[in-house]
């Protein structure tokens, strides 16, 4: 419990630090959002409009410290500002609209490659020097070494263009109605297959190889030999004694990788025109949409921190030594 509170305190502190950074950075830049938008209209707007836009964007000339607390209040209440490029849409509603797609596609692909890779790693380490142990690491390593954009183009060419089995872009077909209905769901799935597969094959090798070497180290530990000697069934030996310990470093990697999921896979979303957060971030950056960029960065920071917190908690469940802080 003390551990939990300690980590929770750290989580809140880090989120506060991320918000503060997010407040300071844009205010060190010249101009303000309203001026930029005003400039876009090239003098076709009356000066009063600038004033009203400043108000709309929540920009004030109040002292920094007051602005800061207003800002913090806005952050907490979910008022993250208005996007310029998607004016007058709110940043939060844009993120809410794009983020699920990314979490769906990139998240599923990442979780799949981590889970499947880990299990394959356990398996080939157990059947060490078997056929799969010789083939799998090399084949997956080869696939991982192919540049991501190239492999996605090849898959798009084969399955999208030549065979026309799968759609080539977007995350769902425009002629379906969004909602919980058969055509929409199947459209989402068929649109998702290629992005998920490309991310999967570009990442799975690391999980296999990592788990394999952890597992081989653990299988050499005395407690595994001791458990084998005392007659524990092979299944329990592999999972409860060997893999349970070998998995711990993988959990840490999962925390790191899941954090980056929210950032989206900019390349994947660009190649497949997939409406995810990476796609949105790319658009926002190229059109200098600061509120949106800020909002996305902030959500990345928060999700990463929260995920780290969750993984920390999970890790302390899995490794009792972490909880008490003492180990030898």
């Amino acid at each position: 419990m003390r551990y939990f509170l300690k980590r929770l305190g750290f989580l809140i502190f880090s989120i506060w630090a991320a918000m503060t950074l997010n407040f300071i950075l844009p205010r060190m830049m010249p101009g303000n959002p309203a001026l930029i938008l005003f400039g876009r209209f090239q003098g076709k707007l009356p000066p009063q409009a600038l004033k009203s836009m400043e108000l709309e964007f929540g920009f004030s000339h109040a002292p920094m410290i007051i602005q800061y607390f207003q800002y913090l209040g806005n952050m907490v209440t979910g008022n993250w500002g208005i996007s310029y490029t998607y004016f007058p849409l709110h940043v939060t509603s844009l993120i809410a609209q794009y983020l699920p797609w990314t979490i769906g596609a990139v998240g599923i692909a990442t979780v799949f490659s981590a889970v499947i890779g880990t299990f394959l790693g356990i398996w080939i380490a157990w059947r060490r020097n078997g056929i799969m142990d010789r083939v799998l690491p090399i084949v997956t390593m080869f696939m991982q070494s192919i540049p991501y954009n190239w492999s996605s183009f090849v898959l798009l060419y084969i399955f999208g263009f030549s065979l026309s089995w799968l759609p080539m872009y977007h995350s769902y077909s425009a002629n379906t109605t969004i909602g919980f209905n058969g055509p929409f769901i199947s459209s989402v799935i068929s649109h998702g297959i290629l992005p998920v597969v490309t991310i999967f094959i570009s990442g799975v090798s690391g999980w296999i190889i990592g788990m394999r070497s952890n597992m081989i180290n653990t299988l050499g530990e005395d407690y595994v030999t001791f458990a084998e000697a005392k007659g524990v069934s092979p299944r329990r030996l592999i999972f409860s004694y060997a893999a349970r310990n070998a998995m711990l470093p993988q959990i840490t990697s999962i925390a790191i990788v899941l954090g980056s999921v929210v950032g989206g896979s900019i390349l994947m979303e660009q190649v497949f025109s997939y409406q995810g957060i990476g796609f949105l971030l790319n658009n926002a950056t190229s059109s200098e949409d600061y509120p949106l960029v800020q909002g996305i960065f902030l959500i990345i920071a928060i999700v990463t921190l929260v995920l780290n917190f969750v993984i920390d908690m999970l890790y302390s469940r899995l490794d009792p030594r972490v909880r008490t802080g003492g180990a030898n």
Partner: protein, 329 residues
């Protein structure tokens, strides 16, 4: 002794595969251990003690393999069993206390779970409450408070962990327990209490023990017979009460005896054995001990001595030429 031995080693050789060819860590070893007997096994680091223990348990890992000879436990050849038979036989009849209590327990599992795993793996019908009751009983036996059942290994001291390992080793009341340096990593006080406990439990459950150690005085006190291992061979097997007869042993044994500090003497002198244990890859010709032996003759460099049956035990040394030669220990 007409009983069936609990352990019977016949001409056993264990080797490690290396790029230079197989290297023998255990070299033509013969041994019989009878019910309720405690046999000590002494030797320097690298003399093959642990390799022998793992070979008996059929737990050899990596490139190690049994090159020659047979191992019989209670008359049964463990190397002829199927994996399922082996899993049922091992630990029920023969168990082992590992050298490193620190690492013999799974760090992510409670002490209780690790004891219960042992029980449920062998007794299919055992209910969870029965298993828990037995785990408590075992902790009582090794004198650890029952409250530690819910603890993880890292929360226990080294001595307690070793006791848990002993509790797991005797959980199924085996006929034979190998103890591979069970007290090496512990301080002297804990060492003493664990040894007393081992003796007490042994009298209670009546299993035979092969007690491996490099601490001669400890083994001499605990065991009825002591085997001395040098470069993979048993150079001497002797009743422990005969160990005090200086001058009538293998020169290596005498070297080891002299290396025991005599705290009762006015001046504490410790004599070591000059030189280092031989490299198993390039073993000296003849008797492997001859380069370090104070009484070595030309013959020792040429011929491997036979085993002589002397009044002080079975000794593999040319010094005892004239005594009866035997084939088996």
């Amino acid at each position: 002794m007409s009983q069936t031995p609990v352990l019977e080693l016949e001409n056993l050789s264990v080797a490690y595969d290396t790029p230079k060819g197989p290297v023998r860590a255990v070299n033509h070893v013969n041994m019989k251990i009878y019910p309720e007997e405690i046999v000590g096994l002494v030797g320097e680091s690298g003399s093959g003690k642990s390799t022998l223990a793992y070979a008996i348990m059929r737990l050899l890992k990596g490139s190690a393999f049994v090159q020659e000879g047979t191992i019989k436990v209670l008359g049964q050849d463990m190397y002829k069993m199927s994996p399922t038979e082996l899993r049922a036989f091992r630990w029920a009849k023969i168990s082992m206390v590992f050298q490193s209590a620190m690492s013999a327990l799974n760090p992510v599992m409670t002490v209780e779970q690790q004891i219960i795993d042992t029980l449920t793996s062998h007794r299919k019908g055992i209910t969870p409450p029965q298993a828990r009751a037995r785990a408590e009983e075992l902790l009582d036996l090794v004198r650890i408070d029952r409250k530690y059942l819910k603890n993880y290994p890292h929360q226990l001291s080294g001595g307690m962990r070793q006791r848990v390992v002993i509790a797991i080793a005797i959980a199924l009341e085996p006929a034979f327990v190998i103890m591979d340096e069970p007290t090496t990593a512990l301080d002297v006080v804990v060492q003493r209490s664990i040894l007393d406990q081992i003796q007490e439990i042994q009298r209670h459950i009546k299993f035979s023990v092969l007690f491996i150690s490099h601490d001669f005085s400890l083994v001499a006190e605990l065991a009825q017979r002591v085997a001395i291992m040098y470069a993979g061979r048993f150079v001497e097997v002797t009743p422990s009460q005969r160990l005090q007869e200086a001058g009538h042993h293998h020169p290596y044994t005498e070297g080891l005896l002299r290396a025991i500090p005599r705290l009762t003497a006015d001046e504490v002198t410790i004599e070591g054995i000059p030189g280092n244990p031989p490299d198993l890859v390039t073993l000296p010709s003849g008797c492997a001990f001859h380069p370090r032996c104070p009484v070595a003759t030309e013959e020792c460099k040429i011929a491997l001595p036979p085993i002589y049956d002397t009044p002080n035990g079975l000794i593999e040394c040319h010094r005892f030429a004239g005594e009866k030669v035997v084939q088996h220990v």
